[in-house]
Amino acid sequence: MSEIPPPNPLAEGIDATRRVPAGVLIVVGASGDLTARKLLPAIEQLSRRRLLAHSFAIVGVARTELSDDGFRQLMTDAVPDGDAAWTALVKQSRYVTGDYSDPSTFTNLAKVITEVEGQIGATGNRTFYLATIPAVFEEVADGLGAAGLNRPPTADTSVRLVIEKPFGRDLHSARLLDTALHRTFDESQVYRIDHYLGKETVQNVLALRFANAIFEPLWNRSYIDHVQITVAESLGVEKRGGFYETAGALRDIVQNHVMQVLSLTLMEPPGSIDAQGIRDEKVKALRSVVIPTPEAVRADVVRAQYDSGWSEGKAVPAYREEPDVSPNSQTETYVAMKLMCDNWRWAGVPIYIRTGKRLPKRLTEVALQFHSVPHLAFGKAESRDLRPNALVLRIQPDEGVALRFGAKVPGQAFNVRDVLMDMSYGSAFMEDPPEAYERLLLDAMVGDPTLFIRSDEVDQAWQIVDPILEAWESRAVPLAGYAAGTWGPRQADQLIERDGRQWRTP
């Protein structure tokens, strides 16, 4: 049995719970765009905020031929205005060149990690960040396992593997990926990033719901008529046409981002705001979502693709005219759907979801539309501008919470109309929150998986989305069109209007 090391008395009282312990971050795919654009700036910010241990180093791995100095230059180029602590971190960073299919890449990597740990005085905390294409996740995980890098060298250290979405292309491939990862890493070691969960305002959904007593009693079928989730992009596919052709809105947004927001909205209050408490409740919420049957997909899901149109004052091309997009593409750039949730809290409350590119504006919001008052005592003419109450959680941009309610219009008559009580987080706390990558990297390195997606969450999200993909592949659902710069196709309006409701105009 290994001996428990004595505590560090000088660290007592210094808040180290959100501070990366002594260790090494190994970035696989270190010469790539994600590393330079997101990861290195995020690490520099953590260093600047003194959230990294003093014994901390980065080791890069990639196929690209680079020396240690070459990698250090890449780090400097990625953060040209880094401070002295960053410069010191760059100096002790190392790089390993190698093909992921070659076992010697990982034996070399193991040797370099051990050397670095000796130099900086770290004893084995290792975080492997796979900044690679998903196709090599399995190969890299196997290589790490074969070199013995999947297990911590001592009992008091940890090894973690961070991977980015997409986690599979469908339920089957997601399960294959999980099986492959679990050959070498335990589920507790795997940190699946959906950067959406790193956004402060997504986390604020939890704060709003579970730090306030006034909302939760209303957060159920007795008071809520329906829920609308909107994830809108004003941009088209830009330079990502090649990628988008293989993904589409359902895989790119609904399976991950929307399902995360949906589960946070529908979940029951957890016993504690920790990883297990939150993730258990999120999975329970997703399990309550009714899996669409083929008939339900035909009736309740709309897929569409943008045509040419006007967006933000500019004429923009149709999706099929975008670079790297097939002129006959059947890829959806818009999805609208109705889901139902079979549980005590939400039975009978429809959840309308829409997401798309080239919509009039960029925004993400969750709107809870309350029931109408049981009896409106005001005259029709006086209350014609009155709608049911709505609570809107704006996730981006202008993050905040808005409550729509009726108020008397000043004057002799008793006219009532809607007013919006609008709280913006930005006006309460003007400091910029940390970037999503900064937050998630820190969480991974301190071993807090709360904001990462567990295997069963991924699986459950795919179980909801998979029947839709299958129906689409059988061409059972026609691809509609919508003009760029509009809120989507007519069919999406019909989807909600046949229930006697309307899409919000956010």
Partner: protein
């Protein structure tokens, strides 16, 4: 983020408290005319700053915190030895970011005569309901009988201003009854973190049982507080600790075991805002670390203190041990 801008102000000499309250209400109404502005607050911040320099420094520091700790600021300038009077200035500030404008108010009161000994009776009119009240005693520590303590959720002091053992004992007595946050303790965090970081490797921790000597340099308050901290946390006898006067804080620990010596040091680089740590342990490479000091340590420590308005038992232990240290 830009500095807050004064949108409007009101001044009055020889006024009654109700005049100030009324003027403040007018300014609040005015802020609601700015339709794009928001009003929000997370606390009331009161600074007790008798002198001009103290008041100037305190107002600048508190205003700069508005982005993270939106608050109503009340600056009190008591002068019990002068004739009874109340002079006041209320100012409406606007803080702009890319998307938002936030308004907040600042009240400055110059209080002469006996009322200066009963500041609690003045400030209650300005504290925001249901929010914590942080009272910052600029360059002083309050008497235990100070009535203003009754309105304070937390008291901010700077032990740098009260370095001798007698004053530290008074501070300790206060801390045992009220929530006291020491700005000096916050400012010393980079040194404490860096030193603690040197004992993160488990192999280094054993050297803490074999400390031969600890040398701490710096100004009187900080060096004494760090000495108290190390005494309390490592159980090293105060006789093994030496304190020296110096412009910058530095710590050096020498440990000896089986005729081998290990050294652990933390010092500020002259002319730079950097703290360097170095651990030299036999049979292992020298481990160096670099920590950046904040550009404005005073404001940073204030912001940190306002984030953690709660008792800190480690600081209290350090303070208690510091009272037994001699230079």
């Amino acid at each position: 983020m830009a500095d807050p801008l004064a949108v409007d102000h009101w001044t009055g000499e020889g006024v009654r408290l109700s005049d100030v309250v009324g003027a403040l209400a007018d300014l609040r109404d005015q802020s609601s005319d700015h339709h794009s502005s928001a009003r929000t607050a997370v606390m009331t911040l009161i600074a007790v700053a008798p002198g001009d320099d103290q008041a100037y420094g305190a107002t600048g520091a508190l205003r700069s915190l508005a982005g993270h700790h939106p608050a109503r600021i009340v600056i009190l300038r008591p002068d019990p030895d002068s004739v009874a009077h109340l002079d006041a200035r209320t100012t409406l500030y606007a803080l702009d970011s890319e998307h938002n404008r936030v308004n907040f108010e600042e009240v400055q009161l110059e209080i002469g005569g006996q009322a200066a000994r009963h500041l609690d009776s003045l400030v209650e009119a300005f504290t925001l309901s249901d929010l914590p009240v942080a009272v910052w005693y600029v360059n002083s520590i309050p008497e235990a009988s100070d009535p203003l303590l009754s309105v304070a959720s937390a008291i901010l002091i700077d032990s740098r201003d009260t370095p001798d053992p007698g004053q530290l004992r008074s501070l300790l007595a206060l801390a045992r009854r009220r929530t006291v946050v020491d700005l000096s303790w916050s400012r010393l965090l980079p040194w404490r973190e860096t030193l603690a970081g040197q004992f993160e490797p488990v192999a280094h921790r054993a050297w803490l049982d074999s400390i031969e000597h600890i040398s701490i340099c710096g100004k009187e308050g900080p060096r004494r507080l760090l000495g108290g901290w190390l005494t309390a946390q490592t159980d090293v006898s105060p006789r093994r600790i030496s304190l020296q006067d110096s412009r910058h804080v530095g710590i050096s620990i020498v440990a000896r075991r089986n005729d081998e010596e290990a050294t652990f040091s933390v010092e500020r680089v002259e002319g730079q805002r950097i703290v360097l740590g170095e651990a030299t342990v036999p049979g292992a490479p020298v481990v160096r670390s670099t920590s950046l000091l904040p550009d404005d340590p005073f404001t940073t420590s204030l912001a940190d203190a306002l984030t953690h308005l709660q008792p800190d038992p480690i600081w209290e232990r350090a303070l208690s041990a510091a009272t037994a240290l001699t230079d």
